[in-house]
Symmetry: C2
Subunit: 415 residues, 2 copies
Amino acid sequence: MKQTDKDSEKDYSFTITKTLPGTMARAGVLHTPHGDIQTPAFMVGGTQATVKALTPEMVEAMNGQAILANTYHLMLRPGAEVVEKAGGLAKFMNWGGEKGKPTFTDSGGFQVFSLGMAYKKGIDATSHSSKGDSTQATHSATQLAKVDDEGVSFRSHLDGSKLRMTPESSMQLQWQIGADIHMAFDELTSPLADKAYVRTAMERTHAWAQRCVAEHAKQWVNHKAAGRPYQALWPVVQGAREEDLRRESAKFLGALDVDGFGIGGVFEPGEIPEVVRWVNEELPIEKPKHLLGIGSAVSDLFLGVEYGVDTFDCIAFTRQARNGSLYTASGKLNITNAAFKQDFTPIDADCSCYTCKNYTRAYVHHLLRAGEILGLTLASIHNEHFVVDLVDRIRESIMNETFFELKEKYLAHYS
Amino acid sequence: MKQTDKDSEKDYSFTITKTLPGTMARAGVLHTPHGDIQTPAFMVGGTQATVKALTPEMVEAMNGQAILANTYHLMLRPGAEVVEKAGGLAKFMNWGGEKGKPTFTDSGGFQVFSLGMAYKKGIDATSHSSKGDSTQATHSATQLAKVDDEGVSFRSHLDGSKLRMTPESSMQLQWQIGADIHMAFDELTSPLADKAYVRTAMERTHAWAQRCVAEHAKQWVNHKAAGRPYQALWPVVQGAREEDLRRESAKFLGALDVDGFGIGGVFEPGEIPEVVRWVNEELPIEKPKHLLGIGSAVSDLFLGVEYGVDTFDCIAFTRQARNGSLYTASGKLNITNAAFKQDFTPIDADCSCYTCKNYTRAYVHHLLRAGEILGLTLASIHNEHFVVDLVDRIRESIMNETFFELKEKYLAHYS
């Protein structure tokens, strides 16, 4: 099944090559101007146009297929115009050399509502409630993030400067940054927001998605004229954990002329599979779906795929690595524990990553205990390889219909 | 000219292949059980059994020939016995894979007198004066480092625990760590110590060198019996900036049955060439010499070579890199300056390092400004490549007798 592009000049497509019988799980190929992504796939996190502690070659060596950066971070530093002048995100960060490899950008919506509001002191992002079309989530004027129907005013988490983002500006910034796939600007709601507010935010997200589509089309005309490749647009389904709102959101966004979808939200443990199922039962089957905001739950990867998710991202695996918490096929271990001081075996004997092929637990233990940078690198390589490789195995298990065996094997150690 | 080993089972030699007419400069080959080092050579600093922020492959890619680790640091963490059980320093840190590549260890003497004394509060290492055979350099009992003729008692800079190091224990630790070349345990004196104290310390250093030779011979017998390769011993010439003491120290140590020499001390700017000349006029010409404790002065590399130095080490180049201070053939620049935000040229257009071949000034600027680990790695690769490559160029300039042209070219930018 192949998604048909109305605009034949778009060097972009998604092809489903296999569907797992009795499930919504599928394997496919997401084609971008910077190359193909075999799905399901785990997008490697590159928030600030760098994968923390790793060179691009290290990401390639672990079979990382695409990197996801963040519009909010890049607009603040170094500025979207710098990335544009450098030749776009992939070139700026040397991801894939001269030709470049695939990249995504998140819209900045999530960070505007979380980091932007959290300047100086954290604010309670759960205080949202419905009171007309202007909502303030703040403790004081200096920490103001204010959403209205037009866009969001917020402060930089770096220096407190006042900034504003709208659907149009998010699109303009993302076309400047130049990733292959953009997310539309959306309003994130807290899991504790009341249903009336969730509806307000969802409807605003829909109106913003329409404005993103319009601005995106305008940008594409200009870029096409300049001989630049297409950049795809995926709006983000919201609606928290309300089944009716999620289905309504998926139907609304599913009817737009867009290239794929994000599934957004802040999820409580265990909520993801049901929400994903509601959404993917309504969205067009033939378009790709990205699940935003998973934690580091291995089970979410299996369940997400089972209900039709094609791509994932999550920065928790490398963050945990930097704290010494390492994933193995038989569960997690904390490498800084004294038990590993004289353990001259690899982190995971069955792992084929650079770290496991060349270093011992004792050495990684030493480096992290001694506060050495190489320890962060070796631990990050291992964990990121773990999750990239796991999603590759899930893909393989769809192709050869061994998905449930693989799921059972991993969930014995990661419930 | 080839140094003859009395013990034919020693897989160690130094061969001078070329001497620059009218100077003491020479090029040679230092052969170790883990491979050859083409001299003059810059030893890459790997204090804690890791080159800060770099993988061993990155060090190989910049043509790094040998890594120098520190006995003091490794005895504290992870412990010399851990490195021994891992198969020795090179294997522990994956330097050169299964076969391993050459390594040095510093004796720990310098750190015992600096870091060991500096626990909690820095102490004034210049307060040494001659008063019998026991000298205290401390402000309070909790920061005590006490030297006597037997050895040194000091406190760990990590946890304040009481420790002791003697010439014998330094040798035992170094044989456990298993580097190819060891430095003898010496007493470092401050540049401000009075001459009587410098003599006391120098004589103690000589007595300790004799004890190191004896312990080293004992260790070699045991290691040889266990089928392990030879590890060379280089005692360290002291005597501060007193010509008579430096010459006396060089004569004394030069008469010992050892494999090479270190030239130690804390140097003021400009002092190195004269001190090196005094020492190398007395030491046996045919044996290799390592200059310890240079700052990051490019001129010291040229002047050291000119007066007969074969190997160098210095951690300042990578430390400066982490602060954004980068070396180029036309002088230093601070990459974090705003001027580089949109500079899409390499750090040094003539540099062949991984960073310059793949990244722009704007990107390294962004990474360091954003506090990203990859910025530390890319900057460190560049600076360490600069100095390794510079010493390689110096070697080449001895071979083809263009040394003074090269010196003039660099010293125009680095006085």
